[in-house]
């Protein structure tokens, strides 16, 4: 079963605009990670935010985490055509005895030049 669910499922924006993607999850977590997937390729890790953190930045990426609402958001500022990809959140359930990451269904981002 899916632990994380992203919304929107698809997002189309103009180059230079900001893109915001949201992720909701079901159970308590140890941390939450965001990954990016270009078409036909594997996933690439973008950023990790721990359960005791509320916000984290990496370059043009900003991630927030609200554990009370079991949700996270990924903001990409000043988007570029090269940001076109699918973005996935992944969580590590706190009570799970193994370290398997559970991925959401992803947001497909299209940045129009």
């Amino acid at each position: 079963s899916q632990q994380g669910e992203e919304d929107p499922q698809a997002l189309s924006i103009q180059e230079g605009e900001n893109a915001t993607m949201n992720c909701s999850y079901k159970t308590s977590i140890n941390n939450l990670q965001w990954y990016r997937q270009n078409s036909g390729r594997g996933l690439v890790h973008l950023i990790l935010i721990r359960s005791n953190e509320r916000e984290k930045h990496s370059g043009r990426l900003r991630v927030t985490l609200d554990t009370s609402k079991k949700s996270s958001s990924l903001l990409i500022t000043a988007s570029r055509a090269a940001d076109t990809a699918s973005y996935f959140c992944a969580t590590g359930p706190l009570m799970d005895s193994s370290y398997k990451l559970i991925f959401g269904s992803g947001t497909r981002l299209l940045v129009r030049p």
């Binding site: 899916q2 140890n30 941390n31 990670q33 990954y35 036909g40 390729r41 594997g42 996933l43 690439v44 890790h45 990790l48 721990r50 996935f88 992944a90 590590g92 193994s98 370290y99 398997k100 990451l101 559970i102 991925f103 959401g104 269904s105 992803g106």
Partner: protein, 115 residues
């Protein structure tokens, strides 16, 4: 250095045949994961190996699926008596340690088509 390598990159097989998918993780990575991704969908966890510990097989969809990891390095995912619903991209990932704070490094996957 070399990343996670998966082979073959594409595999077409007839329904009922067995297939083997191979994953070479990054050298020194102790954790290895298999995921399945159907077209346009998210990743479905299949199995997880960590060092010499018993693997977490909780995601394997049926007893037709099995995986092994020899010598703590290369892993093989085997699907017996393939069905059309097995068609998907099978992704392998490795990480340095078994920890939620250790990001996964993915291969480019094997696209399996069952005709």
């Amino acid at each position: 250095g070399a990343g996670v390598s998966q082979s073959p990159s594409n595999k077409v097989t007839e329904k009922g045949k067995d297939v083997e998918l191979r994953c070479d993780p990054i050298s020194g990575h102790t954790a290895l994961y298999w995921y399945r991704q159907s077209l346009g969908q998210g990743l479905e966890f299949l199995i997880y190996f960590q060092g010499n510990s018993a693997p977490d097989k909780s995601g394997l969809p049926s007893d037709r699926f099995s995986a092994e990891r020899t010598g703590g390095s290369v892993s093989t995912l085997t699907i017996q008596r393939t069905q059309q619903e097995d068609s998907a991209v099978y992704l392998c990932a490795s990480s340095p340690t078994a920890s939620y704070n250790s990001p996964l490094h993915f291969g480019n996957g094997t696209r399996l088509t069952v005709t």
